[in-house]
């Protein structure tokens, strides 16, 4: 597979006027010429091959959307070199646009007051898609996403889940080679999220469309993207297979044991106690090999155990844990 995205030391800095607190500060801000430099993306390098599905992950303000905006040509990098499909995105933005599809989870590209198919028809004309190919793609995507019932309805009458499906279909109508998605599952309910994830997986595997996805939701990555790029504070933290990250961090699963009454101190070799609330005890399981059965076997009977829950670490925790263990996880 050929490399279709190459980021080499890409940096993006924003210059913002310096803000001061209080009323006097607001007045000072009017005449001040001081600026603060915000480093949104700092010296990031990676390559993405055709047909890959890559999750671009990080907390708020990590620089995910900024990177997507640079890859799609919206923003101009401050430093480094960026190539998408052999072109510099901001220099050949419109040529590049014909070969990429972009879905913004929080910004609709559909015409609010008109039926969905009007936005699709406009898209066909803008991308100059041949009529026959458009009909074929529309029929296929409509079937895959179950949109038959609402193509004739005004966008404002659709649910968020229906709208997101229409956004994704529209982004694929012109057969893009790369599909960029900026938080496509944000705000969706579990059923809609599931539909979006299944669709994207199918698009990647069956149509060979390269997918680059930003998200907060680890589940999105798990179901769609075998590869993960993790950033925080503008810097690259991890680039590799999700499996490798899980092996490294999956040990820190949270275990909660609820007892009928306080059984007194409970100590385990397979899990470390982090919080004791009497009848509720919280542990961290630090070894990936340790299963729930192992823990329960070690605990044994006679404690009046009422309930057990085992939670995978959420993304914020993964990143936090990653920071703590960073030296051991430098990509090879």
């Amino acid at each position: 597979m050929s490399e279709i995205i190459v980021a080499d030391g890409v940096t993006k800095r924003f210059r913002q006027p310096k803000r001061y607190s209080g009323l006097a500060g607001a007045i000072k801000g009017l005449i001040s010429r001081e600026f603060t430099e915000v480093r949104a993306v700092e010296d990031i390098s990676f390559t993405i091959r055709a047909g890959e599905a890559v999750g671009y992950l990080g907390p708020n303000g990590a620089g995910k959307s900024t990177m997507i905006k640079m890859m799609t040509g919206i923003l101009v990098p401050t430093g480094g070199a960026l190539s998408v499909l052999g072109r510099t995105p901001h220099e050949e933005r419109m040529v590049n646009a014909r070969e990429i599809g972009v879905v913004f989870g929080q910004r609709s590209q559909l015409w609010w007051d008109l039926p969905v198919h009007d936005s699709f028809e406009l898209h066909r004309r803008i991308y100059d898609v041949p009529e026959a190919r458009y009909r074929e793609n529309l029929a296929h995507l409509t079937r895959m996403l179950g949109m038959e019932s609402y193509l004739d309805r005004a966008v404002r009458q659709l649910s968020l889940g229906q709208r997101m499906r229409a956004e994704m279909a529209m982004a694929l109508l012109h057969d893009p080679r790369i599909l960029f998605l900026d938080e496509p599952t944000i705000g969706l309910d579990v059923v809609a999220k599931d539909a979006v994830r299944k669709f994207l997986t199918e698009v990647n595997r069956e149509r060979g469309v390269t997918i680059i996805l930003t998200t907060h939701d680890l589940q999105d990555i798990e179901e769609i993207c075998p590869r993960l790029i993790m950033v925080d504070d503008g810097k690259l933290l991890f680039d590799g297979e999700l499996k490798r990250l899980r092996t490294a961090l999956g040990a820190r699963r949270r275990l909660k044991l609820d007892f009928a009454t306080d059984p007194g101190p409970v100590s385990l070799t397979s899990a470390r106690l982090v919080s004791d609330e009497g009848a509720s005890k919280h542990f961290l399981i630090e070894n990936e090999e340790t299963s729930l059965v192992d823990v329960l076997a070690e605990l044994g009977g006679g404690h009046g155990l009422k309930d057990v829950s085992l939670e995978e670490p959420d993304i914020e925790e993964v990143i936090r844990t990653f920071y703590q263990q960073r030296p051991a996880l430098v990509p090879q």
Partner: protein, 266 residues
């Protein structure tokens, strides 16, 4: 290129259909605008009739100036005003990003997808007023002067669209730009009157940094063979050139703003 041009009428069509979804609001808007212009023109007519002229311009001549002002503005603003006034919100909400990922000029998309049919009312008012004014005025008509009238109107529309585009484009870099429209409309109000009634500094501004004298006063003065302060005999060609020059400057500024677009959030 041809494919892109074919998209533009479809964008206008979609916008008109979307507007028709709210017919009541659209008709009320037209009525409100008609009352607004009627009251302003009545006030100006009363002043002219009471004092016989403004700066040497009698009512029929003032009617030509006002119709030039209204026609030039509405032709230019139909493609720009509402769209670029909203650009601040479009940038702030991040919607501008969605235009930047399409293989079409964001300017063309904005201008045509918001083409304002509401200005048809302005044109309906301006055309009979101009026709009447031209029959009353002492104009030595010949084919060159007819062409000049058409060219000056196009230039007037281009000045309007160029300034409105430039103000809107500022939002791409500074996010807030709407307050600049107040300055524009301040001078726009002044452009309804003969330039010679204003102090020299205002006259200078209105033929340079805010060239709204070229939208109405200068071409009307040329047609009526009146002397134009500051410009003299250069007034006639400058009225034709002002629109294209303003357009080129606005295009360069728009491109600079696009290149320096910072987006919002993320």
């Amino acid at each position: 290129m041809l494919a892109a041009l074919r998209v533009l009428p479809f964008l206008v069509q979609l916008h008109m259909r979307a507007t028709m979804e709210y017919r009541g609001a659209m008709i009320l808007g037209w009525i409100a605008m008609a009352f607004s212009y009627a009251s302003v023109y009545t006030a100006i007519a009363l002043i002219v009739l009471r004092f016989e002229n403004i700066g040497g311009w009698v009512w029929s001549e003032m009617a030509l100036l006002l119709s030039f002002h209204l026609l030039g503005y509405s032709l230019g603003a139909a493609f720009s005003f509402v769209q670029f006034r909203q650009l601040e919100d479009i940038v702030r909400l991040g919607t501008f990003d969605t235009l930047m990922v399409k293989p079409i000029s964001p300017w063309a998309y904005l201008a045509f997808s918001g083409f304002n049919i509401g200005y048809a009312g302005h044109i309906t008012l301006a055309l009979p007023l101009m026709t009447w004014a031209l029959t009353q005025a002492d104009v030595g008509w010949n084919p060159t002067l007819v062409l000049y009238l058409v060219g000056a109107l196009v230039s007037s529309a281009l000045i309007t669209a160029a300034i409105i585009t430039s103000i809107g484009a500022s939002a791409l870099v500074w996010v807030r730009s709407r307050h600049l429209y107040s300055i524009y409309f301040g001078f726009w109000e002044l452009a309804r009157y003969p330039l010679n009634i204003f102090p020299g500094i205002i006259q200078a501004i209105m033929v340079t940094v805010m060239p709204l004298a070229f939208m109405s006063y200068v071409p009307a003065a040329v047609l009526l063979d009146k002397e134009v302060p500051l410009l003299g005999p250069a007034a006639a060609p400058l009225a034709l050139a002002a629109g294209p020059i303003a357009t080129i400057l606005a295009m360069l500024y728009w491109r600079w703003c696009i290149r320096n677009y910072q987006g919002a959030g993320g």
